[in-house]
């Protein structure tokens, strides 16, 4: 990993490739412009970077790339605000500022020897993608692996090509659902928590990783808990207004935790009491 000499100083990265995933979501593949070593960008699955668009601003974005391919830093971004809309206009060859990686990681090693259930909603599939890649590269170390993914409509499904590949594997259960569909969609329609009942869960030997809108995670956690899973085996990725990325500024404070430093990935047992406080 490149040493972080100053975690507040963005490093320039060149956009090598832009992939338009959906109408409002795109993926950047980045390379370091001033590589001080071999150009690798090592990270842990679930970590994020602060991405800086010059003249517009800086935002936190989870890393969505394969950790086994550290030469390219990959981010999947949804254009919803001024910074992300500005990013959507960037092209191959343009430059972004990058600070990071920051934050905690999915329990990929901890899950070894266990079944794994991965639950993603919307853009929440992006932060989980590194964990999925890592688990599939070491598939023999895990038991049953299930991916449950929900999107708004069939047109909003991310990483379609990869999802097809994952679905085609015999060693992974993949279920996709959409909130509603018009036209030729032949898949599931309904919400992600409803898919959980279709997965065999051995509660004492399963790790769950959940990422998506908070309301979705709330219902998923309830369903997983109803199926016998303890809160310390359910991991969620939280999102708040992160600024510094290193637990100094306090923008992302979540009770006693800083999402940027102590999170974004938490065992649910650690934040369970905070989850029910409306003001947080």
């Amino acid at each position: 990993m490149a040493a972080l000499t100053d975690p507040m100083l963005p490093r320039p990265f060149r956009i090598e490739k832009v992939t338009h995933e959906t109408a409002d979501t795109f993926t950047f593949e980045l390379s370091q412009q001033q590589a001080d070593g071999d150009g690798r960008f090592d990270f842990a699955c679930g970590q994020f970077n602060m991405l800086y668009t010059f003249g517009t601003g800086e935002i936190p974005v989870s890393i969505s790339g394969d950790p086994a391919k550290p030469q390219r830093l990959v981010h999947t971004i949804r254009a919803v605000g001024s910074v992300t809309r500005a990013m959507k206009k960037l092209k191959k060859g343009d430059t972004l500022g990058v600070r990071g990686p920051f934050g905690s990681a999915w329990p990929v090693q901890q899950a070894e020897g266990n079944d794994v259930i991965i639950i993603a909603g919307g853009i929440g599939l992006a932060p989980l993608r590194p964990a999925i890649c890592s688990i599939l590269q070491n598939r023999e170390k895990y038991g049953h692996v299930a991916l449950l993914y929900g999107a708004r409509t069939p047109q909003d499904i991310l990483f379609e090509k990869e999802l097809r590949e994952w679905r085609g594997r015999f060693d992974m259960q993949v279920m996709i659902t959409v909130d509603h569909a018009v036209g030729t969609w032949k898949g599931n329609i309904g919400v992600v928590p409803d898919l959980i009942k279709r997965v065999k869960i051995d509660p004492d030997n399963t790790i769950a990783m959940v990422c998506g809108p908070e309301i979705m995670m709330r219902f998923c956690v309830i369903e997983l808990h109803n199926r016998g899973m303890e809160h310390d085996t359910i991991f969620v990725s939280m999102e708040r207004n992160m600024k510094c990325g290193i637990g100094l500024c306090g923008h992302c404070q979540y009770g006693p935790e800083f999402i940027c430093k102590d999170g974004p990935v938490f065992p649910f047992s650690k934040i369970r009491t905070l989850f029910d406080i409306y003001e947080l």
Partner: protein, 153 residues
Amino acid sequence: MENLKSVIGEHPFMQGLDEHTLDTLVGCASNVRYNAGDYLARMGQPAEHFFIIRHGHVSLEINAGPRGIIGVHTVEAGDVLGWSWLIEPYKWHFDARAVELTRVIALNGECLRKKCEQDHDLGYALMKRVAQLMEQRLTATRMQLLDMYGTHV
């Protein structure tokens, strides 16, 4: 008949029902198969049946006029379809279309209602199960209404 009884008894929706109740249900039940594209129910039509899905995949749809046919929910093996047989005026509120070859146990609504009136224990057992189903669907529908993945999130 015995086979039908075991299929009904093993379905998650019916779990916990006693032998007598299952025997009663079998009297209203028949095995039906729908090919892809066939309709199990049409909006506004009498809700004559209640379906236990054994195999396949059914899409619940609304005809939204100019917006086209909108799929709002799917049910598959292990699920049940329909509570309109239990609630006046006993008419379907959605279309239900088989997405693929689908095998069901169809329970006749009128037959079930008569038996529920005669045997309130059966009526209560079914009502409890339907109420639980309604609660699950209502929760799911509320989540869909929230438009969780919309740009406001």
